[in-house]
């Protein structure tokens, strides 16, 4: 979900995804390569992202991942589900 979320605005390559998650979460969350690449492969398999080779700002050839329409739908679904669950937990914690 996190990967999809950071890809929502712009296509990014593997390293940038890891950086972006790290930055956006105010250094709270770090995505290890060990889980990032299997996760990306899974997204590719599910058809939620597409990968293309481009040249990065630093002139390197990198593989950029771009979210697809079904990926966006999936993200929306997951966000909704996530909000529902967190709200429920919030409500539970607040009432207690």
């Amino acid at each position: 979900m996190l990967v999809l979320r950071v890809l929502q605005n712009e296509p990014l390559h593997g390293y940038a995804i890891a950086r972006r998650i790290h930055q956006l979460s105010s250094d709270e969350l770090a995505v290890e390569e060990g889980s990032l690449y299997p996760a990306l492969q899974k997204l590719l398999l599910k058809g939620w992202v597409k990968a293309d080779w481009t040249t990065s700002d630093t002139g390197r050839k990198v593989r950029e991942y771009r979210i697809t329409a079904s990926g966006r739908a999936q993200l929306a679904d997951e966000m909704r589900e996530y909000r529902r669950v967190t709200q429920a937990i919030e409500a539970l914690l607040g009432s207690a």
Binding site: Y15, P38, Q41, K61
Partner: protein, 859 residues
């Protein structure tokens, strides 16, 4: 998993190498970027592990490990093992594939004609009579008056002299002009027969030749169309060549030439085929209109049949009707259908039995391999292989074997079928090349094989406690008694299977032997037969009698001939008319019309009463065979009695000794002889006995036939040749049965040998100790032998029991084998005992002879 995902998975599989290289490069970049970033520790996990984890996501790991197992299986199998396994399986599967293919072509596949389900064959039936042919006139009457057929097809066949050589006969089918169109076949060259042209009354004589004849006699000459040809000395034009796959509706008939049936009296002058109501002379087929069922057709045709009875009461008795048989069942009657299926089921049992024996043998082999590999498996388990992975290894090895066996079996099957087609004169339109159902059958068999061959060892391995076996170097585990029991069970199965096969083979061989040695009740070695087929050439009635008088006198005057007689059918080979009487149940009685010379000429003695004299009337006098007399009246003292017993119309003048004139193998056959019917001379055959060599009678017979009337095309045959022809099928069957049985026995013996020597090797330690304690070698030997004695015995018992139902089937039509032949059973038991004993004795002897004490030293 949705479709898109499956698609992406497959794309991944196809481009795996490229995609993985990309992933590697990507990670490389990632690592470099990480390294460049200040303040970050360049941390990156094991790249290989990462790639493997990423790869797992795509779900193809099982394929990789499976391929590994396959490669490993090939590497660990020794060429000897692989070869013997491939041979065993190829033989087992090949035999079954061959059998299936033949059955498929002969029984399962529909006729390869247009809409075979609409096509019916019509046979003439009444309460007491049944003929599979009908008079042409009746078929024409149906064509003109029915509402159920969209087309009516007629067909008959003759052998006609080709060109100028009277002895060069070709098979000619006379067919209705719509024949090709209704069966859905066009020409290969030129044109086929068509109704609009060849169906017309005064159409010029036209024939179509078969593709086989075109390539053979005409060397595939493209200019053959339009050429003139002489058939029975009549000119006709070849208008076309039929397609090579053009079939015939009569099973396994193979015409070389098709001519319009309306022109039959042009080719056979004087033929009364088109007008005679009294003779059933053509095959009659109809194409049902859409929506008409067999029952509707039968009922609707009853009205027409009744009208025929009204107009021609002399030919059609009341109650005669047409019985339709569907083309989907190859026009077989239910009785024929049942008989065919009985044979098929029986043969299928036997061929499956061979496969079964082969499989259990191989299962034993695989099992021993698996057991000797327990140590290897233990190491793999110790290194972290899962139990499932080990099991899969065993199963995959069986799978590899099954694949090799299937490929070998298909190859063996294809060549066996070709051999079969070559030895049995299959018509060229019958395609025996492997097709989809055959491949499916082979695959199914492979699956069965895999289950049998793979499952037992896998099951055994899975039950082994692999981690403990390592301690004992795998010795103890393989020594467990339970496993030995399984192997004994396999041996029992093999012995039982080969026992059944051997019994069947034994019965066949004994049947053949009986046929060869037994006295058929008449002498045929010196006899030649001439079938002049007078009725087909249009010589009938008084003209026929004159012809016979001339020919007979001419042959009798020949110094080579010891005697000459006239009969309605040739002995030994030909088909005859048969009767069954309620007074003599289960007896099939061959009807022969003979002159007063016949019995004497065939050396069939008269045991009571007298032979025919020329004054005997065919309507009142009869001679019965001894068996018929005994069954019907209980004695042979029957001269002067009425026949048949309950509904007498004739008087018995004599009793002849039993002579199995046509059904030479049958045990339920009897004969009855009537004097010649003066009106039937056109249907009779000439039987001549030679003084020395019957072959020297052939030329005089042919000459006499031609001289008396040059329309007659005689092709004399020798009864000894007919007899050999008759033996061909049982000979072939015995040969096949015997080789299958012996092969199965060989397999079983190899199995026994293997198990005994394996057992002996496991007990080296024990035997060493026993030997050291003073046990004599003969005692040890007995001990080893006893172990294998009971599987052998039990297998033989089971096999004998299993053979009984098969033997009972073999006793019936059309095999007529004597299933209670003690010699066959005793022979099989003796053979089993000897071979089993040797296979048991040799390894035991070798084990005892080996220096057991020195073996002990290694422990």
């Amino acid at each position: 998993m949705n479709l898109g995902e499956l698609y992406r998975r497959i794309v991944y599989l196809l481009n795996r190498r490229r995609i993985e290289a990309e992933l590697e490069r990507e990670m490389q970049t990632h690592r470099e970027m990480l390294a460049e970033m200040p303040g970050e520790q360049p941390r990156f996990g094991n790249a290989l592990k990462l790639r493997e984890d990423s790869r797992d996501v795509w779900g193809w790991t099982w394929l990789d490990t499976g391929l590994q197992d396959v490669r490993y299986a090939f590497r660990t199998m020794t060429p000897g093992f692989l070869l013997s396994a491939a041979l065993i399986l190829s033989f087992g599967i090949g035999l079954n594939v061959t059998f299936f293919q033949i059955v498929n072509v002969a029984l399962l596949k529909p006729l390869s004609v247009r809409d075979p389900d609409q096509l019916v064959n019509l046979q003439r039936r009444s309460k007491d009579n049944h003929s599979n042919r009908v008079p042409y006139a009746a078929a024409e009457f149906v064509r003109a008056n029915n509402h159920v057929f969209s087309a009516v097809l007629t067909r008959t066949h003759n052998n006609l002299a080709f060109g100028d050589d009277a002895s060069d006969l070709v098979r000619v089918a006379f067919v209705s002009a719509n024949w090709f169109a209704e069966l859905g076949y066009g020409p290969f060259r030129g044109r086929v027969l068509v109704r609009e042209v060849d169906g017309q009354p005064h159409a010029p004589p036209a024939v179509v030749i078969s593709h086989e004849m075109w390539t053979g006699r005409y060397h595939a000459d493209p200019a053959v169309v339009g050429r003139s040809v002489r058939l029975n000395n009549r000119a006709a034009t070849i208008v076309g060549v039929a397609r090579p796959e053009f079939p015939d509706l009569r099973t396994l008939d193979d015409p070389q030439i098709w001519a319009p049936i309306t022109q039959i009296d042009y080719f056979l002058p004087g033929s009364d085929l088109k007008t005679a109501w009294t003779s059933d002379n053509i095959d009659f087929y109809g194409r049902l209109r859409p929506g008409i069922t067999l029952d509707t057709a039968r009922e609707s045709l009853k009205v027409i049949a009744a009208e025929i009875t009204r107009q021609h009461p002399e030919a059609w008795e009341t109650g005669t009707y047409f019985e339709p048989y569907s083309g989907t069942r190859h026009f077989r009657t239910p009785a024929e259908q049942q008989q065919t299926w009985t044979i098929v089921a029986l043969l299928a049992c036997l061929t499956m039995l061979v496969l079964f024996v082969a499989c259990s043998n191989l299962s034993n082999l695989v099992l021993s391999r698996a057991m000797t590999r327990i140590r290897e498996f233990s190491i793999r388990v110790a290194l972290g292989a899962s139990r499932w992975r080990i099991l899969r290894q065993v199963l995959i090895e069986a799978f590899v074997l099954a694949c090799v066996g299937t490929a070998g079996g298909m190859l063996a099957g294809a060549s066996a079928v070709r051999l079969f087609a070559a030895t049995t004169d299959m018509p060229s339109y019958v395609s025996l090349s492997p097709d989809a159902p055959t491949a499916a059958a082979a695959l199914g068999l492979a699956l069965v094989t895999m289950l049998v061959v793979g499952f037992l060892p896998a099951w055994r391995v899975s039950r082994q406690d692999l981690s403990t076996t390592m301690k004992d170097g795998g010795q103890q585990a393989s020594g467990s008694m339970e496993r030995a029991r399984l192997r004994k069970l396999l041996i029992t199965a093999q012995v039982a299977g080969s026992c059944v096969l051997l019994v069947v083979a034994g019965l066949m061989v004994r049947g053949l032997q009986r046929l060869l040695l037994a006295d058929p009740g008449f002498e045929f070695a010196q006899v030649a037969v001439l079938d002049p087929e007078l009725s087909r050439t249009g010589i009938n009635g008084a003209e026929a009698r004159r012809w016979w008088a001339q020919v007979r006198a001419r042959i009798a005057a020949n110094p080579e001939a010891a005697g000459v007689a006239i009969a309605s059918h040739a002995p030994v080979g030909s088909s005859v008319s048969e009767s069954a009487y309620p007074d003599a149940a289960n007896l099939i009685v061959t009807n022969m019309e003979v002159d007063s010379e016949f019995l004497q000429l065939m050396k069939i003695p008269i045991v009571a009463g007298r032979n025919f004299v020329p004054s005997d009337d065919h309507r009142t006098s009869i001679i019965v065979s001894r068996r018929l007399a005994e069954r019907m009246y209980g004695s042979i003292d029957v001269v002067g009695k009425g026949f048949p017993k309950s509904k007498s119309s004739k008087t018995i003048v004599g009793v002849a000794a039993d002579a199995r004139i046509v059904r030479m193998q049958a045990r339920n056959a009897a004969e009855q002889y009537s004097p010649l019917n003066p009106e039937s001379y056109a249907h009779y055959v000439l039987v001549a006995r030679a003084r020395q060599d019957p072959a020297r009678l052939i030329a005089p017979l042919r000459l006499a036939a031609r001289t008396a009337d040059d329309r007659v095309l005689g092709s004399p045959t020798l009864l000894r040749d007919e007899f050999q022809k008759k033996l061909r099928a049982p000979r072939l069957a015995s040969l096949i049965g015997l080789s299958a049985g012996l092969l199965a026995l060989l397999l079983a013996c190899v199995g026994i040998y293997g198990v005994t020597s394996f057992n002996a090797s496991l007990r080296t330690k024990e035997m060493g100790i026993r030997m050291a304690l003073g046990s004599s070698p003969s005692h040890l030997m007995r001990m080893l032998l006893r172990q294998q004695a009971w599987p052998l015995l039990l297998g033989a018992l089971l096999g004998m029991a299993g053979a009984i139902p098969i033997a009972i089937v073999l006793q019936r039509e059309p095999f007529f084998l004597d299933s209670a032949d003690p010699l066959a059973y005793a022979g099989v038991l003796a053979l089993l005992a000897i071979c089993g004993g040797v296979a048991n004795l040799v390894p035991a002897w070798r084990a005892v002879r080996a220096d057991a004490v020195s073996a002990l030293r290694y422990e």
